[in-house]
């Protein structure tokens, strides 16, 4: 009780991007509270987009000014090269996803009303909508920013929850197929809460082992504290479960297809891009900063997880008949490819920065492509909403060649065909893994890629070489937002596929400084 505490200090400049996003989210809540209903959407959209753009500008400013070399906020938040790169990526992806969220009537008018009831009719009639999605999305994005930058387990847990809680809610707000959407929310919530309890138990055990929840201090304790290895190993395992769940790695992937399918498609796009990027940042930081000295122990486990994830993702994707589920399994498989990169870290510093830059590049490439793919999914509609069943997509190439062509291009990027961003992403990760001595893993990865390519090509064949159904889905004319999203995604995929050098260079620069300890 009588220890001396110096008053803490906060480096506001370093934390500015996050503060802007959280501040805008709070302003958004105030708008919800005080603005009249018909104005809300008109106020929210500029606030949300401007704050994301502003946060991005602040991140860039931070890079220009020079990457900080010491953790901010009394060692709780590490704003280092990889963090800044990940922040930039998440902010751009979130900006694009918000355009998609803004676009159409994807969201339910009154979440509490039973579908088809009088209340619902009235809410629809009044043109009501849950404009809360904007502040909720901003809170989620703020959590995503904090998650990979957190330098102790307490902040990481808070960030995990700030990121997840709004997403649980957003999942359940789809306007059409409400039962599916709510089911997705329940499943995501229950499994998410379950996994964060594991994360916490792991945190508690590591705290018991190291006497601190600071990542650097845990790392320092690894060689010093003896006789309590049980605490350490169980703690690391449980922490790993919590983090791998968020990524959707193989034994913990069950939620991903269900949630991706049931959630409103713009939210799926946000989750598939932003959450994955943030979770990989956090995973890398924990395993590299805190547990780097223990890699003999966790590396074999991650090998197994990576193999299982790639195989499960690639093989189960083949059997899917639903486009969103298929993309979800593809996301699982890509998580596996990224884990190959994580396994490749751990040796010398040069090897580390190589693997890290490969992962960062892969995350950018995959994030843009996946947002674009989900944006296309929102445009192919049936009478009752988006046409998810693959059989409905048959012959789309004849009906709407441009859209089908773009989608085919995204699928080829997922498959990693040369001249798309996916190729260089996979190439960089696999190259780093070979250099790190994980050649068997790379072989499995290449085989899994080939299997995955099979089902991507199958969809392309279905779109272009089979006859369209008589009452096939219609392609809605995209709004400006959706068109912009698809355009940005196509441009990014082409650009990263043809001239990967600038972004690769940026990723290398970011990875050069590694995670600060």
């Amino acid at each position: 009780m009588n220890g001396t505490i110096q008053a803490p200090t906060l480096e506001y400049a370093q934390l500015a991007p996050m503060l802007v996003v959280f501040g805008a989210a709070i302003v958004g809540v105030l708008v919800e509270a005080f603005a009249p209903r018909y104005l809300r959407s008109a106020i929210h959209v500029p606030i949300t987009l401007l704050s994301l753009a502003g946060a991005f500008a602040l991140t860039i400013w931070q890079v220009v000014k020079g990457v900080p070399t010491k953790p901010a906020a009394m060692g709780a938040v590490a704003v280092d090269g990889p963090s800044l790169f990940i922040w930039g990526t998440i902010l751009v992806l979130a900006f694009v996803s918000v355009l998609l969220i803004n676009d159409e009537d994807h969201f339910v008018a009154a979440a509490a009303a039973v579908p088809g009831s009088a209340e619902e009719e009235q809410a629809l009639h009044e043109g009501a909508g849950h404009t809360e999605v904007y502040p909720l999305a901003l809170f989620a994005v703020g959590g995503m920013l904090l998650f990979p930058a957190s330098n102790d387990l307490l902040v990481m847990f808070v960030a995990l929850e700030v990121m997840s809680l709004p997403l649980y809610l957003l999942c359940g707000l789809a306007r059409r197929r409400r039962l599916l959407s709510q089911e997705a929310a329940v499943k995501y919530f229950l499994l998410g809460a379950f996994s964060s309890a594991f994360f916490l138990y792991g945190t508690a055990l590591l705290y018991g082992y190291a006497g601190s929840i600071d990542l650097a201090k845990i790392s320092a304790a690894l060689g010093v504290v003896g006789g309590q290895e049980t605490l350490l190993y169980i703690g690391v395992a449980m922490l790993g479960v919590g983090l791998l769940f968020k990524i959707g790695a193989a034994p913990f992937q069950a939620w991903k297809p269900d949630v991706y399918q049931g959630a409103p498609t713009p939210i799926t796009a946000l989750m598939a891009s932003g959450t994955l990027v943030a979770a990989f940042g956090a995973l890398l930081r924990v395993f590299w900063v805190a547990l780097g000295g223990l890699d003999w122990n966790w590396s074999p486990v991650l090998w197994a997880v990576a193999i299982l994830t790639m195989v499960v993702g690639a093989i189960l994707a083949i059997t899917q008949t639903d486009i969103k589920r298929m993309l979800a399994y593809s996301s699982i498989a890509h998580g596996g490819f990224l884990l190959v990169g994580v396994v490749a870290t751990g040796a010398a510093a040069g090897q580390n920065s190589k693997a890290l830059s490969a992962i960062l590049f892969y995350l950018v490439a995959y994030g843009f492509t996946t947002v674009g793919a989900f944006a296309v999914v929102t445009m192919v509609r049936d009478a009752g909403g988006e046409a998810w069943h693959l059989s409905r997509w048959a012959g789309l190439g004849k009906r709407s060649p441009l859209l089908a062509g773009i989608f085919a291009f995204f699928l080829l990027a997922f498959a990693g065909i040369p001249l798309t961003s996916g190729f260089f992403g996979k190439y960089a990760v696999f190259q780093a893994a070979v250099a790190g001595g994980a050649t068997p893993l790379v072989i499995v990865g290449v085989v899994a890629s080939a299997v995955a390519a099979f089902f991507y090509v199958r969809v392309i064949v279905l779109m272009f070489f089979s006859d369209p159904a008589a009452d096939g889905p219609s392609v809605v004319l995209p709004s400006r937002g959706t068109a912009a999203v698809v355009g940005v995604a196509v441009l990014a995929t082409v650009f990263l596929g043809v001239f990967p050098q600038p972004v690769l260079h940026l990723a290398q620069n970011a990875a050069q400084s590694l995670f600060i300890r």
Binding site: P115, V158, Y168, Q182, A193, F194, Q261, R392
Partner: protein, 127 residues
């Protein structure tokens, strides 16, 4: 008192929570089991805090955060479960099977469900 006692109690509590999550079918009881797991963590943290004589009381501070976030989580969880109950008149997690490998992904519609009020409007939306 030796540190082993609180740690073992907390491990037991956590295990009971895990069992509850896996075995219970009622969503509310699953939520309660998750709370049990979180409280096991709290017990652990406070015990370690005392045992380590942590000058900055990191464990106790973390406990406070866990308590607050658990409250927020449970409020949100109840809201989601409530929304599901309104539509389905059931919160049996085993019956939430519309989204699964054999459910909506198949050509056939989802298995029979307790038909809730006004569900038809939603059903039409399915292919």
């Amino acid at each position: 008192m030796h540190i082993v006692y609180p740690v073992v109690v907390s491990a037991l509590l956590f295990s009971i929570g895990v069992y509850g999550v896996l075995a219970r079918r009622n969503a509310i009881l699953v939520l309660m089991s998750v709370e049990l797991m979180l409280n096991a963590v709290n017990l652990n943290l406070v015990a370690f805090d005392v045992w380590l004589r942590d000058r900055l009381h990191g464990g106790q501070v973390l406990t406070l955060f866990v308590i607050v976030i658990a409250a927020a989580e449970i409020g949100l969880g109840l809201a989601i479960v409530l929304a599901v109950y309104r539509n389905r008149q059931s919160i049996d997690v085993d019956r939430l099977r519309d989204l699964s490998e054999t459910g909506a992904s198949e050509e056939a519609g989802p298995p029979e469900e307790p038909v809730g009020v006004g569900e038809d409007a939603d059903r039409e939306a399915r292919p």
